[in-house]
């Protein structure tokens, strides 16, 4: 019997349909893989009992001929999605022990389509980070190793989700992306990650980081898997005022493999100073693959790209500083107070103990940029630049169908690197942040290896609500790149 954990989501779906194996078997295999890879710390909370229950129920459902689109497929859920009765931490101490009485819309949709939850995946605290080192529950280790064999970061913030998929501890995982939190870890772990258009997936029940940017999306082994999973996550939700009132297309049907005549934009501003040679080459190779597949490659300009990172690090912390005000020790989560403490004492002690350094840093940045006297210089200006960035893309999409860029400026780095320099850490998001600010769909596809043998991804950015084109081009890129490398121990 094949190793069930090495299947793609699509293969497992088809195998289940044919009766080659059951959801219980599939789930058991993944639970075993989770045991074997616990050293990676990809999960904060494993839910084996719930997984088995769901798998059994799923097999029964299938027997009755009621199989959903994700029927019986075991996945990891980023621990930012509230899951009914299952601890939801956002990787923060302040939410330790918090068990929601409600299920997020995205997980409700997934479970409604038959998906089985294996556990809650690790992440950067409140999704703030690019290395998954800010989790209160410990950092995640990338299943990939460089030549020195050092432990590497999986990227972040959806680092646990990326590592779980790369190490075959889940067929797929949910991620969330605010400035690159799906795409960058996907690139670092050699998997596919799709951040949909803002509004494609409901944010209801996802612990908020930056409301105008947060978007849930799939993290999978293949582009087809991403298409399948997005179809089961997306959809209008009246409970989220920013969710788009539009239907969900058949994303898998978009994977025609035919991109002849399509126009692919190459933005010159992404060729930043000091871009490593191997990233540059990866990008050029990608361009060649798409051209060979019959696409027309067009130079486009996105002139405000250089302001994107600065803009992001004003907008996101500003929203976060307000979104995280509710963690005050009063109604749920951790409370720290001593006899005779005032309300303010309790706030300060609970929040000082409950939030890690990076979260505190961003709350302070956000509070500062919204303060009287600084609002116009920072927040208001950032909103204006954000508008310009959107207009840049609008202009480019007048000429092209999709835009190709690298996903990240480097391969995965060693745990501990960049820790002393937050700005350097923030630079990891330089290629992913513009699409986030513009609310556009972005797909990372692994297309090559670094000189150290680590995976590198290319990003496709699409028009609003045109995930179909992004997936179609991504599928072609995936086939052409034929990226078959796996982390040690996971080779097929």
């Amino acid at each position: 019997m094949t190793d069930l954990t090495k299947l793609t989501l699509a293969d497992a779906r088809d195998g289940l349909a044919k009766g080659d194996y059951t959801s219980v078997e599939l789930t058991e295999a993944h639970l075993k893989s989770m045991d074997a890879h616990r050293n990676l710390n990809a999960y904060i909370t494993e839910t084996p009992e719930k997984a088995m229950e769901m798998a059994k129920a799923s097999d029964a459902k299938r027997a009755k001929g009621e199989a959903g689109k994700m029927e019986g497929l075991p996945i990891a859920v980023k621990d930012l999605f509230c899951t009914e009765g299952v601890q939801t931490t956002a990787a923060s101490h302040i939410l330790e022990g918090f068990k929601p009485e409600y299920e997020s819309t995205v997980t409700t949709n997934l479970f409604g389509n038959g998906a089985v939850m294996l556990g809650k995946a690790n992440l950067d605290e409140f999704a703030m980070g690019s290395s998954n080192t800010s989790s209160y529950y410990g950092n995640v280790v990338n299943p990939w190793k460089d030549k020195s064999g050092k432990d590497l970061v999986p990227g972040g913030s959806s680092g646990g989700s990326a590592a779980a998929v790369a190490a075959n501890m889940a067929l797929a995982a949910t991620g969330t992306d605010t400035g690159g939190s799906i795409r960058q870890p996907a690139s670092y772990c050699g998997i596919v990650g799709l951040k949909p258009t803002y509004g494609r997936c409901s944010r209801w029940g996802i612990v908020a980081f930056a409301s105008s940017l947060d978007q849930a999306g799939p993290m999978t082994k293949t582009v087809r898997d991403a298409a399948i999973m997005l179809g089961s996550m997306a959809g209008h939700d009246a409970k989220d005022s920013t969710s788009a009132p539009i239907g969900v297309p058949d994303f898998e049907a978009a994977l025609t493999g035919d991109i002849r005549g399509m126009k692919i934009g190459i933005p010159k501003e992404y060729r930043v100073d000091g871009m490593p040679e191997e990233i540059s080459k990866l990008w050029d190779d990608g361009v060649a693959m798409l051209r060979d597949a019959g696409a027309e490659v067009v130079d486009v300009t996105l002139p405000h790209t250089k302001y994107a990172l600065g803009t992001y690090y004003i907008v996101a912390p500003a929203e976060a500083s307000s979104n995280l005000a509710r963690y005050d020790g009063l109604r749920y989560g951790q409370r720290v107070m001593d006899e005779g403490d005032s309300l303010d004492d309790m706030y300060m002690k609970s929040r000082a103990a409950g939030f890690g350094k990076e979260v505190q840093r961003r709350i302070m940045i956000g509070t500062y940029v919204l303060s009287a006297g600084y609002y116009d210089a920072y927040y208001n200006k950032a909103l204006k630049v954000r508008r310009r960035i959107y207009q840049d893309f609008e202009g480019a999409f007048g000429q092209v169908d999709a835009i190709l860029t690298p996903t990240a400026p480097s391969a995965a780095f060693a745990i501990g690197d960049n820790e002393g320099d937050p700005v350097k850490m923030y630079l990891n998001d330089v290629f992913t942040v513009p699409a986030s600010l513009a609310g556009l769909p972005g797909l990372s596809v692994p297309t090559g290896l670094s000189s150290e043998g680590l995976p590198l991804g290319l990003q496709l950015i699409g028009k609003p609500f045109d995930e179909e084109t992004v997936l179609r081009v991504g599928g072609v890129l995936e086939s052409a790149a034929n990226f078959t490398a796996k982390p040690a121990g996971q080779e097929g």
Binding site: P100, T242, S322, R331, Y332, D344, L370
Partner: protein, 484 residues
């Protein structure tokens, strides 16, 4: 009528602007489906959104938006078809989100006007700067436990309209008239019940003083005063305090103050330096609030006749004075009552009866118009009895007294008590003859030219007939008999 406070160094004028929070009448809260019912068990009207659970999102309640637009139309104000919800950030135990969703630079309603009806019958316009929608906070209770405060989130998230006036108010009386009028308007509209004692209408007053004709002084904000009377008191007391400070060589510091109605003083709550920096920014969880002209005109069609229009109509159609019309329209129930009484009758006579007799009696009994023992129909019948000479005006007053006490039908009362006016000439003549016979000296006086004495005779005859004789007939017959 200008209101001037005399200080030790000369006259002072006061400048007041009011910020009134009106709780919107709606089934559910501004951004959640939880009930707005007043007086339920603590923390029973609380949704996941109201408790600010992680990942919860606000969804605007269209009914609250309609109510705000309706109120804006009632204030003759500009309706902003695009407005923006913003977060006002501060930490407090009864504010679960750590921010209040409000509106900042783009409110749903812009500039408007309120016409004040002053006690002397004059009117004055006060500008409305804006009306915006916002969430209410929960309630902190500090008296439930010796060590801890208790929080009730039932009110958390209930929709409020904050209505901000221009600094056009110049006296405590004008402030009182403003609040009375605003309350009347929202009650007419059915957008707020206006009950200040239940907290569904709350007022903050910005008060400053200046020499007549000079520019604005530094203002202090008096927070959360909970009755019209207290607002008027607080303004006067605060103005006097400011004058004292300035005349004593001091300076007014911009600050928030509390009015203590027991001690009759205002005192500092927090200074400008300690003021919160609310870090307003557009709420990214909510799209801008956008609606079209059709939405507004639909609401416009539902508008009832408002106090100003009603007042004008009463003056125009019923010939009432501005003062009487103003008194009648101050409360919709009073105006409705009056209209029933006045229908098909003399409007002025009806107004006199309603205002002087009915309102007088109700005030004395401390009863509201809704609980009036005299129905509008019965008061109308009473007026009919006067008009068709069944009873005299004097007897009518007695009948009215009985109606107030018993709630009875005036026709029955007149019937049962035999109060019908005597119009039978013979009966009146008999009474006159008796009075004349008993007072020959007085008859001589009249004949001698002292015609004023006739009035005395009228009184005696009325007394003799228990007030039931028709006064006109008594007069005429007396004249005929004595003066021939």
């Amino acid at each position: 009528m200008s209101y001037i406070l005399e200080g030790s160094t000369g006259p002072w004028e006061i400048v007041v602007g009011l910020e009134v929070h009106c709780q919107v009448i709606s089934e559910s809260k501004l951004f959640s489906g939880a009930s707005t019912k007043f007086g339920n068990e603590p923390n029973s009207n609380v949704s996941l959104v109201d408790a600010a659970m992680p990942g919860m999102l606000p969804v605007v309640n269209a009914e609250c938006v309609r109510q705000a637009v309706k109120t804006g139309l009632g204030l003759k104000a500009k309706i902003n078809k695009e407005s923006v919800f913003a977060r006002k950030n501060y930490f407090y135990a009864d504010l679960p989100q750590g921010y209040q969703i409000s509106q900042f630079d783009k409110p749903i309603v812009g500039e408007g006007t309120i016409i004040l009806d002053m006690p002397d019958g004059s009117t004055k316009s006060v500008g409305i700067e804006r009306l915006h929608l916002e969430q209410d906070a929960g309630k902190s209770m500090h008296d439930q436990d010796p060590k801890y405060s208790h929080i009730d989130l039932n009110r958390s998230g209930v929709a409020l309209m904050e209505i901000v006036s221009m600094p056009d108010i110049r006296s405590p009386e004008e402030a009182g008239a403003y609040l009375t009028k605003l309350r009347a308007i929202v009650r007419y509209l059915g957008t707020c019940d206006g009950n200040m004692n239940e907290g569904s209408m709350r007022c903050d007053a910005n008060v400053s003083v200046r020499r007549p004709g000079e520019g604005f002084g530094t203002r202090c904000e008096i927070k959360n005063v909970n009755s019209i009377r207290f607002v008027m008191q607080a303004i006067e007391i605060e103005a006097k305090r400011q004058i004292e400070v300035i005349e004593g060589g001091g300076e007014i510091v911009q600050e928030t103050r509390l009015y203590d109605q027991r001690l009759g003083e205002t005192r500092s709550m927090r200074s400008k330096e300690m003021a919160h920096d609310y870090r307003y920014f557009p709420d990214p969880d909510l799209l801008p609030l956008v609606f079209d002209d059709a939405f507004v005109s639909e609401i416009e069609k539902e508008l009832p006749e408002l106090p100003d229009e009603k007042k004008a109509r009463f003056m125009r159609e019923n010939g009432l004075s501005a003062y009487d019309a103003g008194v009648l329209v101050a409360e919709k129930e009073k105006a409705d009552y009056y209209e029933v009484v006045a229908k098909g009758r003399d409007g002025k006579l009806a107004a006199n009866w309603v205002i002087t007799n009915l309102f007088g009696a109700l005030n004395k009994a401390e009863v509201g118009i809704a609980d009036s023992p005299v129905t509008a129909e019965n008061l109308g019948k009473l007026i009919d009895l006067i008009s068709d000479d069944t009873i005299s005006g004097r007897i009518a007053k007695d009948v009215f007294e009985i109606m107030i006490e018993t709630g009875g039908d005036p026709e029955k009362i007149v019937e049962e008590k035999g109060l019908k006016q005597i119009t039978d000439t013979g009966a009146i003549e008999t009474a006159i003859d008796e009075v004349i016979a008993a007072n020959p000296d007085k008859v001589e006086e009249i004949k001698g030219g002292k015609e004023k004495m006739l009035g005395w005779f009228v009184g005696q005859v009325m007394k003799a007939t228990g007030g039931k004789a028709n006064p006109g007939m008594v007069n005429k017959l007396l004249r005929d008999k004595i003066l021939g």
